[in-house]
Subunit: 143 residues, 4 copies
C-alpha cells in the first residue's frame, strides 16, 4: 500500500547551503532550517522553542539553493521525511532524519542582503518566480 509522507515547513536558514556537484552533472544541497515556536510556561512566561531541520535538495532545487538561498532567509519547504543510516567515526551505526525537498519558495518579498558586496548582481537582485519545484514539466502546467 502506497502511503503519504509529507513535510511542510516555514522557517529561516541557519547557514548558507552547502552544495556538492556530483559526477554525472547532478548536484545536491544541504542546509539547516529553524522553525520557531512560542508558548507560555506554567508561570505564564513566554518561552521560545527552536526546532532545527536538516534539508536536502537535489538537482534543480540544489542549484536554486546555491543561487538564491542565504543564511537567515525565510523560506517555505515542502518535502518528505527520510531517515538515513551511517557509520560514525567510532564505526557505530547512527541515524539522521532529513527532509528531502520537493518544493522551495522564498518568502518575504526580498532575499536577504548577502553582506559581502562581492557582486552587485547577487542575491539582492529581483528574483522573478520565487517558487521552485523539483520538475517544471510541460504537462504539469496549469491551464
Amino acid at each position: 500500500m502506497a502511503g503519504i509522507n509529507k513535510v511542510i515547513l516555514v522557517g529561516n536558514l541557519g547557514k548558507d547551503p552547502e552544495v556538492r556537484h556530483l559526477e554525472g552533472g547532478s548536484s545536491v544541497a544541504h542546509f539547516t532550517l529553524a522553525t520557531n515556536d512560542y508558548y507560555k510556561d506554567k508561570s505564564g512566561n513566554r518561552v521560545e522553542r527552536t526546532e532545527w531541520h536538516n534539508i536536502t535538495a537535489w538537482r534543480g532545487l540544489a542549484e536554486m539553493a546555491e543561487k538564491f538561498l542565504k543564511k537567515g532567509q525565510q523560506i517555505y519547504v515542502e518535502g518528505k521525511l527520510r531517515t538515513r543510516q551511517y557509520q560514525d567515526k567510532d564505526n557505530q551505526t547512527r541515524y539522521i532524519t532529513e527532509i528531502v525537498a520537493d518544493e522551495i519558495s522564498m518568502l518575504g518579498g526580498r532575499p536577504q542582503a548577502d553582506g559581502q558586496g562581492s557582486n552587485g548582481q547577487g542575491a539582492e537582485q529581483p528574483v522573478e518566480a520565487q517558487t521552485f519545484r523539483q520538475e517544471p514539466e510541460i504537462d504539469q502546467l496549469p491551464f
Copy 2:
C-alpha cells in the same frame, strides 16, 4: 518569527502502541508508522521503499491510541517534527527525530480485528468518529 512545522503521514502501524500513564494523570503513547513508496529503478524494475517514523502522542491522543490503534492498521497522522537528544548506553549523545501527533484519523472504514478475542467490546466494534485531535494544552498554546 514564528514558523510552521507540519508533518502529514498516511501509513500503517508497525506494532501496537506502547502507552505509559504518567504521574499526574497524563499519558503518552509511542508507535512506529511505515509509509511505503514505489519507484522504478534504472532498469525499469519496480522497487518498494519503506520509511519508518517514530510517532509520539500525548494525553487524549495517547488514550485514543491505546484504545483503538493496532499493529498493521492504516492511519492518517498530522503533527510536528521534534528532535530529542538523549544519552545512549555508552553515555554518548544521540538524537532521535519524532513526530508529535496533533491529529490521528483511522482509515479504511473499519479497525483491524485484534485477533485475541479477549474482549467482545474491543477494537472490532464500530468506532463512530474516527478522527481525534489533541486538545491544545497549556504548554502548546502560542504566546
Copy 3:
C-alpha cells in the same frame, strides 16, 4: 511573488468519476468527494457535517481515476484550489471552486468491489502501487 496553494483531503467518492477523452489524446476526470466532520452542539448532541468537494484530475490521474476509482471508495487527494467562472443557463456569471488533483492515493488496503461483475480482473484485483502522481518523472524518484 509565487505563493502556495495546497489542499489535502481524505474522503469518499460521491459517485463514479466522469471521464472525458479530449482531442489530442488528453483526458480529464471529474468527481465529488465527501469529507465528514463531527462535533458536539450546545446541547451536547453529536452532529455530523459533510462537506462536498469538486475534484478535477487531468491526464494520467484522469486515467487512473477511470480505471480504479468507484463511488464510495476512500481516497487521499492532494491538489490546488481553482475557482472557475462560467455562464449559467440564464447567461449569468457563476463561480465554481474545484480542487485540481496533483496526487491521489487509494486508502483502506483494498479497492471497493465494483458490483457489476462484468470483469473478474476488474477493480477488485490487487492494485500494487496505490498512489498516483501527476508525473512520475525519472528525476523525481527517491534515492
Copy 4:
C-alpha cells in the same frame, strides 16, 4: 467515517480584513488572499496566474486579523474548505467556497507599513509571536 479537509496557503491579502463583532462577544473576519503561480506557455513566455481565495476567521483569529493584517501583507493560512449556500439578490441559490482559518502566520518579518499614519503604535510595531491558532471552540471539537 471522519475525514481530512485541510487547506494550506501562502499569499497576499487583497484588502484589509472586514471584521464584524457579533452579539454575544464573538467576532468574524473576512478577507481575500491572492496566491500567484507562474508557468511557461507553449511559446515559452512566462505567464502569471492569480488565484483568489475567500478567507473567514472566527473569534481570536478575527481579532488577530483586525489588529495585525493589512492589504498586501504576505501570510500563511491553514484551514478547511467550506461551501456555503446563499440567496442572491434575484433570490437564486448560489454557492461560495471559503477557507475557514485554523491558523494564520505573518510572514516576511515585518508587517506592511499602513501608509495612513493614523497611529504610531499601529501595524508597524513589532509583533512578537506571529503565529496565531484558533482556540478550538465548542462547535469545532470532535464528538
